[in-house]
């Protein structure tokens, strides 16, 4: 695939001068949370794009079937064996990885934590991830645009996977905005909205029925953006609905106006940048940058939804769209890099 080739030109020369090797075949790995859910695949695709673009990288990608911390630890341990040139680790349960990560860094395997910050007690310098608090805030900001200052009523919030750190952060962000800017609204929840599609639908259906007077139902997981519009459509009830992540069906709902907005963590970008930084350092011999690289959040609403739908068509369309973004970000790392400690 023709990925963005941002600083490849300068890369060659740098490779020549620096200790890196621009040609040497690289064996790298990208281990992610689960192969069965789209957000994580987006990151995997991003990582693959970066590898393909270099052209000489064997990327061992692997993920457990279904979110399963211990199983992922096992896969990561395998990656330590067969991906000496660098590993990107995307996980929902970072704290399980303390030992294996140290095992990897002890063997001087370059590492990048993706999506969730590296756990304390590890020596991983680079974390590429969006701020889920920021994502929640962004969704909140979009939400209040549709709610008059003095509005009253219930706002019901759902959580697809109780016990999932990043969803909690999103909710915190979302709630903070609403509390601050629409104090008259009462926030209910978060309630368990389940993640399996039919369960998620049934859960929301129950929640909607159980809260007849609520003015808005907000989710922060991928499936919510699919279930809520369907419920609006079927019950004919009118309420504000918004969610995070950008599954195709949800994008369509934004287009139809059934969702006021989707707040996208830009998964593809995370995967791409993490892998790209690892590869570049190998090629240029420069050390992997350290700190928290936040590629940012994208708010999808009526204004940009068509563009995003187009971008999500396939790998090429994604790569094409992101080329500009990637070039911009890689051009001046410092604006995107913050101390890891600040990651949220």
């Amino acid at each position: 695939s023709s990925g963005p080739s941002g600083s490849s030109g300068s890369q060659e020369t740098a490779g020549a001068s620096g200790g890196g090797d621009a040609k040497k075949p690289l064996k790298m790995g990208f281990i992610y949370a689960t192969s069965t859910q789209n957000p994580f695949q987006e990151m995997a695709f991003g990582a693959k794009a970066a590898a393909d673009q270099d052209g000489n990288v064997t990327l061992n990608q692997a993920a457990p079937v279904g979110v399963n911390g211990p199983a992922q630890v096992q896969l990561f341990q395998s990656a330590i064996r067969n991906s000496p040139d660098g590993i990107g680790l995307e996980t929902l349960t970072p704290d399980l990885f303390v030992r294996p990560i140290n095992q990897a860094t002890d063997q001087n395997i370059p590492m990048a934590a993706v999506d969730t910050a590296p756990p304390p007690g590890t020596k991983v310098g680079l974390f590429v991830g969006n701020s889920n608090t920021e994502l929640g805030v962004a969704l909140g900001e979009e939400f209040i645009k549709h709610v008059p200052e003095d509005a009253t009523g219930d706002v019901v919030i759902g959580n697809d996977i109780p016990g999932l750190q990043l969803l909690n952060q999103r909710i915190e962000g979302l709630v903070s905005v609403i509390k601050a800017k629409r104090p008259k609204l009462t926030i209910k929840g978060p309630f368990d909205a389940k993640s399996e599609p039919t369960d998620n639908f049934n859960a929301w259906q129950g929640i909607v029925k159980a809260n007849p007077k609520a003015i808005a139902f907000l989710g922060v997981g991928g499936q919510d953006g699919v279930s809520l519009p369907l419920i609006k459509q079927q019950t004919g009830r009118d309420f504000l609905a918004g969610s995070a992540d950008i599954p195709p069906e949800a994008l369509q709902a934004v287009k139809k106006g059934q969702l006021f907005a989707l707040s996208s963590p830009e998964h593809w970008l995370k995967g791409y940048i993490a892998m790209r930084l690892l590869i570049d350092s190998k090629r240029t011999g420069k050390p992997v940058p350290t700190g928290w690289w936040n590629p940012g959040t994208l708010v999808v609403n009526k204004d940009n939804v068509d563009e995003i739908i187009k971008r999500q068509t396939d790998e090429t369309s994604r790569a094409a769209y992101f080329k500009a973004v990637v070039d911009k970000q890689l051009a001046d790392p410092n604006t995107y890099l913050k101390p890891i400690g600040q990651a949220n």
Partner: protein, 352 residues
Amino acid sequence: MSVDDVGTKGTPALDAPDVPGERPGGGLAALARRVPAMESMSVLVATIALVVVIGILHPDFLSAAQLLDTLQASVYVGLLAGGMAFLISMREIDLSVGSMFGLSLISMGLLINQGLSPWLAGLLGVVLGGVLGLVNALVVQYIGIPTIVATLATLSVYRGLSLALSEGQQVTGMPVEDSFFTILGGKIFGVYTSVWVLIIFAIVLTVVLRFTSFGYRVRSIGSNPDAATFSGISANRVRMQVLVLVGLLAGVAAALGLAFFTSGDPNIGTGFELQAIAAAVIGGTPLRGGTATVVGAIFGAILLAVVGSGLQYFNIPVNWSSFATGAVILLAVSLDSLLRRRRRRKDEALGL
């Protein structure tokens, strides 16, 4: 089982002169007359009790719309549980039902996107379900491994296929105006079509199980495999038939699901296998085999659905919801087993 009760065995319900009731038609009448004795009664009562309790605490729950939605929510697991009851009654378990459901659904969606008429696609999807069941059967028979192991493997094979085919993406862009979606996804006489379909299958499957030689063969195998083989019932042949039946049911559920959700997610149906097994067992189909109640299995699925939607009314804090779910299920099945007690005592009474 003690010699003493010669002739006195059998509950009055059993003694009821229902020889006329043996005709399948009248058979249903007979069933109706035997209702109090039916295995599935206790779970029905438990479910109703649960609904009433929730209704007392939160009257909105008793709204027709809510109850209908709850019924609708139980359709998919309900259909799978019906098939699972057949399997369990012959001492087999199929763990791949959830994945068969998902794969059929995704395939239908893709076929429709290929421009196939939704009805045709739906039909093919159901057939595909049957084929997947057949594959399970062939694996079990020719590789010679237990059904539970074979289907554990196909569980992820089929799930993997729906991910591969859909490239991990949702399948969207269905022609939602097509009659397939408006009819199967809509309502008839104010009740979801899928619910009607569930009712029809409850009846058909019950009749098949109780009044056809096929049904008798299924239960015979579960009741005494050796004797069944000796008397010329081919366990392999019957197992194959039942596994295909389960696949077809998964296909039907998939068609209803696609019509209702008007889009397909490759993860749809994950975890349905345990729910279906639970529903069947809660409904009164024991794992030791030999007997089954399709109606009970479906009531079991409804019970689980009631627990699900009912809890939404209690504003359970997110971190407590899974605890609450388990607790309520426990309560419901306790009531159910309380109602069963008397019958079970009789069964357990050993004699010389």
